[in-house]
Symmetry: C5
Subunit: 364 residues, 5 copies
């Protein structure tokens, strides 16, 4: 991951636009860089289903009348006009609609009179890890989802409906809402798997050789975990509040499924915490490895230096130019028959003693 | 940010004056360095609005009678007389008035019988980051705000009323109170954006080259985050208590907006926590970068030293002045035909062996 | 523990299969590497007991009719067919059955209408520490347990029933459920004992000599403690929720035993926390020991170097080749009668002064 | 602050005497080093006040009969006899009286049937920071305070009564109790101001030059903050419990003032926490500054050493005594016409290359 | 404290025997190394008391009939038979009896129908700090205590009864229970005092000279604090639950005393936390002291080395053997009249410049 790309995406996801001073609450200020909204309807009952692209909001009520459950999927948030038409049709609160548009809302749950409103983040498939906001309105017989780009986050649900896998076709809109939430949460799993693998590999790498690159990788990992935590943190509360809400069309059966969903998201948050612990431990490991290696280097090198310093001193002594002819006190060794061997022997003796001393102290 | 300026402003904002031993609770002790209060009234209804500077407190009741909502904005806290007149007119509690004056109160919410009292801090535009206290009284048909200096913190609301943007002109005083609170909270956003950018840039800077200046910048950043946290911390509670209060003129509609406002402030506090984490990580990054660089320096330099020490020792040996004429045991090498090349070869061999040893141990 | 094996088992236990995006909730996706389920029935009353391997699910109802308490132990989770038959027979919820199969579920408690459902993890006997999921359904007159492999985790209970030790034969299915839970919790004890011993030994080892191996051992220990914490963390809640549940066939007597069980598991979690503290302290101890030892080495070596450097300098002086014949200013010492002894004396004096200086400063 | 004095005062304030094993609960064991109790009465109503030293407990009831509010201030705790007489007169519980005497009680609030009992700590004016216990009994028409030594902690209240400043003379005993508590809390402020200044100065000092003295100052500061926290910690609870108590003579008006008081004490505890964060950051700053300075020293010095080592080696080479007359292979350089300049040039070249290398690597 | 002894006692106190897998809950497995139980009865009323050693459980009921309060003290837990007889007599639950025997139970409170059951730990007098389990059953007119060895933990209560000190003789069994609990808690005080003194002394020691022994002492202290925390942690809950229990013979008077007792134990836990903070700070102090000292050593020594290295280089230059006779370019200095003084002067100049440089940079 290049430094540049990381910076850009972090800047982008800090907060939504409705957040800035001067913005009027409840007035839609759309991001014109966002694609135009495309509406796709998937309506189904136990026996049949229909999937169509819809060009005008006006044709939506017909689906609602005809089909037991209608899923209206809006992709792209770049046109305030269309979004407001949808808002009027489904009686969505201005603030809720604003949250939908502002695309980097914190995960939240808001109950309204005739629908429930959820915001969550679905991780994108690309690297580096990024999330996309998924806003879900669960009504009596419809589910309304908003996303900026068509990710595959909800594609699996679409297929389950088409192929009648599981019980989804026999259940109401509340179950579809649960299925979307569950699918969103399940999408974090591959991310966690990848992180787990990366943590393991990094640990092996650092154990073998602590490099500057490894240090930078740990730092990146910690950063990604922080982003992940930020995205996941509000979800347990969202699911819990949804579970406890007394929205009439939320059936007991779906509640049992939500309990399971809650367990999953709690498990994910626990795993993230454990990964963060692990990343911190890894940093400690890196630091202690580096200093252990450095100590090794320093020790051996210093030992070498320390042995040669006294030897060089001895050589220096016998390199002095005192006049041996003036007195027999001046460096008589130079004129000894065994002078040179004696000097070499002295050096060997000193070196040996030092080595012995180091060995005893266990510095070698 | 110079060290001097930082010290001054921190000293100033520690606590309010009513805090000191010997002060009598409920007696206004104003700061005479504060500007004299100026009163500006902005009264409005769905169809019209009026904005006037008012010189005497006595002319205020007329606005209240005539207009659906009256916003009295008092700027400057330097005259106890005027403030007490206002206090009497609106039946403000002595302690509340004291909180208004003491200008560095902790954020708080206090419900009184016929008005609600909020204290918050609005960040100033200038660098370094500083905040100004904004005290808000929300009555049945009026909002009373107190600030020390006229910041632009509430200017956006003023314009929204004038230009009838959003629904503010159709709503009561409670909505105006919410709008002020929301605007206050939204003002933290640019600060957070700036901090985010600074954190990113600092990270790049430190990754490239960890300098003493970078270290000092991280320290400053941590300090600013602490100040920010201190200002923001009480706000979620303030909003929550306001939301839950059963003040009669607080409408259900405004409560929904407050819920949104609560989400924003919670998001901000979470971001601050994440920034603090990031700043700590940055410090760790700095420290590990510095020690990594230092290790690099030390390693190369020590390797050089270690290679040359034995070589110098060899040179020292052959610099000894043993008398080669007295015996053939005394430094016969000096008289060898290939003596000098032999010595040089010995040195090259030793250096090569050491280099090999270092390479094998991966110290190079 | 080899690095390879650790990686494998961590990968395996991250999350269950039902977790992945695209999986349909409530549809059993079994792990085909898991052994085929084997059913073993142990039915008992106060006076008699019978233990048989059962090949088809169809023969189970007879035991339930005949015996006060029937314990059906299913080992192996590799065949969706058989598991679903059991699910239908005992009216198990799809999600519960899915949790059973997905083998790395977080510990949980779920009350259903006619049975209670518990998931916990029982540590295996092998090294390194690994756990196996134990799923327990407690019905009116039966207990149903699922495990992937036949560990001895529940063998002690089996023997207690056979030999009529304690009161188990006189109690209902709820007591058997408690006994299984209690046995599961008790299995953590030997693990903790081992960890305690390892912590003690490691501490002694590191106090004596901080090695790289010791550092790696601490890291492994921290990792194991993290895994252990992950397994144990949900259990206090599980026991507490079980205790508080108003399941009709849960007797008051069993509740008292569960209170005891709760104390045990709380004690275990406290011990794990204390061990984690201890492991962190140990890492600090290691780091400070290493740096203390390094300081020792560096100090002695540097002292040696520092003493010999000035001495070598003196020797260097008298090794200079200034022409003593040209003037009496050029190295007259070389021609002194006592020149050499004087030089040696100078060296001894300098060395002595340095030693004295070091002693005074307590660097020796 | 000398090390000796600090130790003494910490020993003294650890716990009260009633705490030790063997002490009988409810039996007064006074500290005979404490001064004898002196009783001073200050009785007042809206129109008049009287202040007298009272020698016997017997004369107290008269004040209580005559005056709306009587404040009995007992200074000195060295006589069990007098204290017990007071206890009997005001129907004080044995344990409360014991808490009064044991002078280092934790801050607490205890409601009794006909009076409320508060214990808090008022900081003394002297340096180093020390606190004195202030015990307050609030009855229907009296307030009873106990202190070991007559500090000025409550002097400001006394003056406010005498000079009829604020509303104190018009209010009941409950307001006097509040005023004492408020004054006690306000006394922490100057301490916090001093600490804030010290933190700022210390930061400047350490930024400029990290000395051993600075390190010791940080350590002292952390210690004082810990002591301060210990004294302040229980107070928010004390005020909160007092606020919520349904003691009949606690008026609604006083409750509003207590709410303000609660805000102050919460603010103080938050400031202490922030100061503790700051002190920790300061320690980190110190450590990183020291190591940054050390790195600077080491780097420059090592660079010098590294440049001269190869040069000295070259000089060593040409100091060898090989016999140049025996062969032209033996140090022919010595007999070159430009030999010496060549050697010097070689040295300059080596030094230059090393400097270049260091510059490129940015080590200089 | 020797390393060996510490290890042994930690091993011993990890968990009780009833904890291990395979143990049957409710079946007494006594530790045969424990002494045989000795029963001592102390029965009393307001006017008289009797104290006797009792050899058979059968003689206990008589005391219960005759005396208002009977305290049965059982010392030694080595005989399941006797303990079970007592259990039957007083209708003790199997699990409670098991907790009594398993001697390293976590502190707990359990209400039973006709008695209350408390487990706590009383510190032994010996060094190193160890605790002994004290199990207390409080019945209507009796208190039953179990200890493994006869410590003096409860001796003070015994004397208070004999000598009728305080109100104990006039109160019921509930007050005796409180007195035992209070005495147990008070026994922690001398331990805390000792720890406080040790922390102070250690701080002085480390400030003066950070030694390896000091480091090991801090480590031991942290360990003891951890053990202490483990023993004390459950006690506040125990006292609180006891206070709130609606056991009929627990009088209101005793409840007031328990409130005091609760304050004490909370104070103790707070002190332990503060001590742990202090110990951590001490470790930081040690580390920073060591590195400060090391820096001092390194700095002075490196400065010495750095000054002499260039000097030795100069001496090396003039030790070269270039042939001065061949050209006037070859070391003409050697033949200068002032050659030697010039060389010495050069050395002094270089040394001076380096010293000046170091002084300017404040490295000296």
């Amino acid at each position: 991951m290049s430094r540049r790309s990381r910076k850009r995406h972090t800047r982008k996801r800090l907060v939504g636009k409705d957040f800035f001073p001067g913005s009027v609450p409840g007035i839609l200020t759309v991001d014109f860089e966002s694609p135009r909204p495309a509406i796709r309807v998937l309506a189904y009952g136990p026996d049949a289903w229909i999937e169509e692209d819809v060009s005008s909001v006006g044709s939506l009520p017909e689906y609602l009348r005809k089909w037991p459950v209608t899923w209206i999927q809006v992709t792209g948030l770049g046109d305030a006009q269309i979004l407001q038409e949808i808002g009027i049709l489904f009686n969505l609160h201005r603030l809720a609609l604003e949250d939908v548009v502002s695309n980097n809302q914190r995960g939240k749950f808001e109950p309204y009179e005739d629908h429930l409103f959820l915001v969550g983040h679905i991780p994108k498939d690309e690297e580096p890890f990024e999330t996309e906001q998924l806003s879900i309105f669960i009504g009596k017989n419809y589910v309304l989802t908003f996303q900026e780009r068509s990710g595959d986050g909800v594609g699996v649900i679409r297929e389950r409906i088409r192929e009648k896998r599981g019980r989804i076709r026999n259940m109401g809109a509340d179950y579809l809402g649960y299925a979307l939430l569950d699918s969103m949460i399940d999408h974090y799993l591959p991310i966690l798997e990848t992180l787990d693998t990366r943590l393991e590999e990094l640990e092996d790498e650092i154990f073998e050789r602590p490099t500057d690159e490894g240090r930078s990788k740990i730092h990146d990992l910690k950063r990604e975990l922080r982003t992940l935590r930020k995205a996941v943190w509000p979800l347990p509360d969202v699911v819990e509040m949804l579970m406890k809400d007394d929205f009439p069309s939320l059936t007991e059966t779906t509640r049992v499924y939500l309990r399971d969903c809650h367990d999953h998201i709690v498990h994910i948050t626990e795993l993230i915490e454990i990964f963060e612990d692990q990343a911190s431990d890894l940093m400690d490991l890196y630091l202690s490895s580096v200093s252990a290696r450095m100590n090794d280097v320093m020790k051996v090198l210093t030992v070498i230096a320390t042995i040669f310093i006294p030897l060089t001193f001895i050589a220096g002594i016998y390199g002095m130019n005192f006049n041996t002819e003036i007195s027999s006190w001046n460096m008589p060794e130079l004129d000894w028959y065994w002078g040179y061997p004696f000097a070499l022997g002295l050096m060997v003796a000193v070196a040996g003693m030092l080595l012995l001393f180091f060995k005893r102290r266990r510095w070698l």
